[in-house]
């Protein structure tokens, strides 16, 4: 097997799972919501994007592909992508409106059940989804027309990286805002947060919906990268893999979620080489499903190991420190000066956040997610100086 295509595939998948993990991190890592049905938002995003962009039934492309699906709207892929996020968000809103008020474990059960319901519906409504057969000619944008098939995986990886970087930057901006702080207060002690006047049900619902939207986006990226969508892809193990990514990377830290996904993919994808090991090759010959099954065992063991021995993950969330902008005497004389500084950096604010977004690996600044708001000094300073 050629190494480069393998790596490109692995990175693309890691980014897509990274987006899923970003969503779950917002729900669980930041807000404390136990969502065990994340795969449902992923599935809804994938099917939404696929059905919206497929060539319409009866069209030349449809006939040429020998397809059998009923619905294809032939819309542009970017539209499908955006609406996949909307669909994921709306499903989360629907589920959340009924169950986000449940306390932790009940929410976990409700979301798990919800995901199974979604999967059953997708399986049985085969007029829409072709059930277990799936739909195999999901459009891959610009393939063969602008970008030759030989370099398509590289182009798709680059596009995915840009999309994920933008969504990461927006998510970090959100979690470092007063809104993110309010979400963390709900996570840490909901009763206390509510007693401080926080509208905790609305906060939880908001985080749940945004997390669902991120998973919807991930579904779209995935289905167009494969050109295939079928319901068998959306099984509970996907949810647990995303959990593993979030916990391994560092719950509460968006960069950790991405790093955790990369680690997850490195681990699970390399298991396909397990069959080459001398010890295991004999077993594999007799039982072809041996190694794939072993992968499930490995994920389970890892999840247990991380929770038990490494609960804060590779890039733990760090407490946000106060910024020392000017000395303690700042308040007396600096009222006017302070507000002027706040205004002229208004445009810069965004730039200050974006540089973090490029850094998908997050190795060096992931833990420094404590940048934040009201951070005039950091916003004006060159990126490197934002660290304490």
């Amino acid at each position: 097997m050629a190494l480069l295509p393998f790596l490109v595939g692995l990175l693309t998948l890691a980014l897509i799972y990274g987006l899923l993990a970003l969503g779950l991190n917002l729900q669980y890592g930041v807000t404390g919501l136990l969502n065990f049905g994340h795969v449902a938002f992923f599935a809804i995003g994938a099917f939404t994007s696929a059905l919206l962009t497929l060539p319409p039934k009866g069209s030349a492309a449809y006939l040429q592909a020998g397809a059998h699906y009923q619905i294809g709207l032939g819309w542009p892929v970017p539209v499908g992508f955006l609406l996949a996020g909307v669909a994921g968000g709306l499903l989360a809103l629907l589920i959340g409106a009924t169950s986000v008020r449940l306390s932790s474990h009940y929410l976990a059960i409700a979301t798990f059940a919800m995901a199974e319901i979604v999967r059953s519906v997708l399986t049985n409504e085969d007029w829409l989804t072709r059930g277990e057969f799936g739909i195999s000619n999901v459009p891959q944008p610009l393939k063969d027309t602008v970008i030759p098939a030989s370099v398509y995986p590289y182009a798709y990886l680059a596009a995915t990286a840009v999309v994920v970087a933008v969504l990461l930057a927006l998510t970090v901006r959100l979690t470092e805002s007063p809104y993110g702080r309010a979400l963390r207060s709900v996570r840490d002690d909901e009763v206390a947060a509510r007693s401080l006047g926080k509208r905790t049900p609305a906060l939880k619902l908001g985080a749940f919906a945004v997390g669902g939207a991120l998973a919807g986006f991930a579904g779209s990226l995935w289905t167009h990268s494969l050109g295939v969508v079928h319901v068998g892809q959306f099984v509970p193990i996907v949810t647990f893999q995303v959990w593993l990514a979030v916990l391994m990377g560092g719950s509460g830290n968006a960069y950790g979620a991405l790093l955790g996904s990369l680690a997850l993919m490195a681990i699970t994808q390399s298991t396909r080489f397990l069959g080459d090991l001398p010890l295991l090759s004999g077993l594999t010959r007799r039982n072809p499903s041996f190694v794939p099954s072993l992968r499930f065992v490995l994920i389970g063991l890892l999840l247990i190991g991380v929770v038990r021995f490494f609960p804060r993950g590779i890039l733990p969330e760090r407490p946000r420190r106060p910024r020392r902008r000017a000395g303690p005497g700042r308040r007396e004389g600096a009222g006017g000066e302070g507000s002027a500084g706040g205004q002229d950096h208004g445009g810069q604010d965004h730039g200050g956040q974006d540089h973090g977004g490029e850094d998908r690996g997050g190795e060096d600044r992931g833990g420094d997610a404590g940048g934040g708001l009201g951070d005039e000094a950091a916003g004006d300073a060159p990126p490197g100086e934002a660290k304490p």
Partner: protein, 274 residues
């Protein structure tokens, strides 16, 4: 010091409520039972605007339950709660908090994985940046509000002597520091009524003295204080009014001297509940 602590309270000094003349909090016929246990059995009392009022009573008298009922953490079976004349019975805790009632809990409920600094900032309300869109956009109003809260939190860190631990995760704080932090966080909400549930329990004497001084400062800044405490000495020195609860209802109400002379109070503490 006291000027700093009082700043926000002066911002919305309420007019005297219509009910009970100058009562900021008035509780009438409040009842709550858990199964067969009548935890609060028709308690009625008022807390005067601008006062420091003590709420005492033997263990199991219903003080903490009463706190939960007033702040909406537990729903009352019967009775009314008014703050500055506005009926708040049965409202959600966040609504009651936004009406100007801040509380601490008997066991401090800090946000353990957030820093001391963020704990304080999280207390600040009326923040345009605290909505989904507001947080993403972070417009001028949100940035101004954030600066104001940061200035206030900086003052409170100094006021409570928590500057050294500002950047620490709150789970690393000592028990006493947690009490101070939850007091500070409650003050960040700029309350008119501050309800403290055993602020001095488990706190050493030096810190207790500091705490008392801080509570007086806060009160001098215009915040009405209702305090549950077992430390009689503290109550008698701090409070101008004392409400005594026993078996779920109000046994006596008056100045510390009046209450101390009351036969029934002595009976409750020494006889019935001993």
């Amino acid at each position: 010091m006291s000027a700093g602590a009082g700043t926000p309270a002066r911002a919305h000094r309420p007019a005297a409520g219509p009910a009970g003349g100058d009562a900021l909090l008035s509780v009438e016929g409040l009842q709550k039972h858990f199964g067969g246990l009548m935890a609060v059995a028709g308690a009625s009392f008022a807390v005067r605007q601008g006062s420091i009022t003590g709420l005492i009573g033997p263990n199991g008298a219903g003080k903490s339950t009463l706190f939960d009922l007033v702040t909406g953490v537990t729903r009352a079976d019967r009775g009314t709660v008014r703050v500055a004349g506005r009926p708040l019975t049965g409202r959600a805790p966040d609504v009651i908090a936004r009406a100007g009632v801040a509380r601490t809990f008997q066991t401090p409920r800090i946000f353990p994985d957030m820093s001391t600094w963020e704990n304080l900032l999280a207390g600040g309300g009326r923040h345009p940046g605290e909505t989904l869109l507001g947080g993403l956009v972070l417009g001028r109003a949100a940035r101004a509000r954030e600066r104001a809260l940061q200035a206030r939190a900086t003052e409170l860190l100094a006021f409570l002597g928590l500057e050294r631990v500002a950047g620490r995760a709150a789970r690393e704080l000592s028990g006493g520091q947690r009490k101070l932090l939850s007091l500070g966080r409650a003050l960040m909400t700029e309350p008119r009524l501050l309800m403290l549930d055993e602020p001095a329990a488990g706190v050493n004497q030096t810190l207790t003295r500091t705490l008392m001084a801080r509570i007086r400062d806060v009160n001098a800044g215009g915040v009405t204080v209702l305090v549950v405490e077992h430390d009689m000495d503290l109550i008698m020195r701090l409070c101008e009014r004392v409400v005594v609860m026993h078996q779920g209802s109000v046994l006596a109400e008056g100045t510390p001297e009046e209450v101390q002379r009351d036969e029934r109070v002595l009976e409750a503490y020494l006889g019935g509940a001993a």
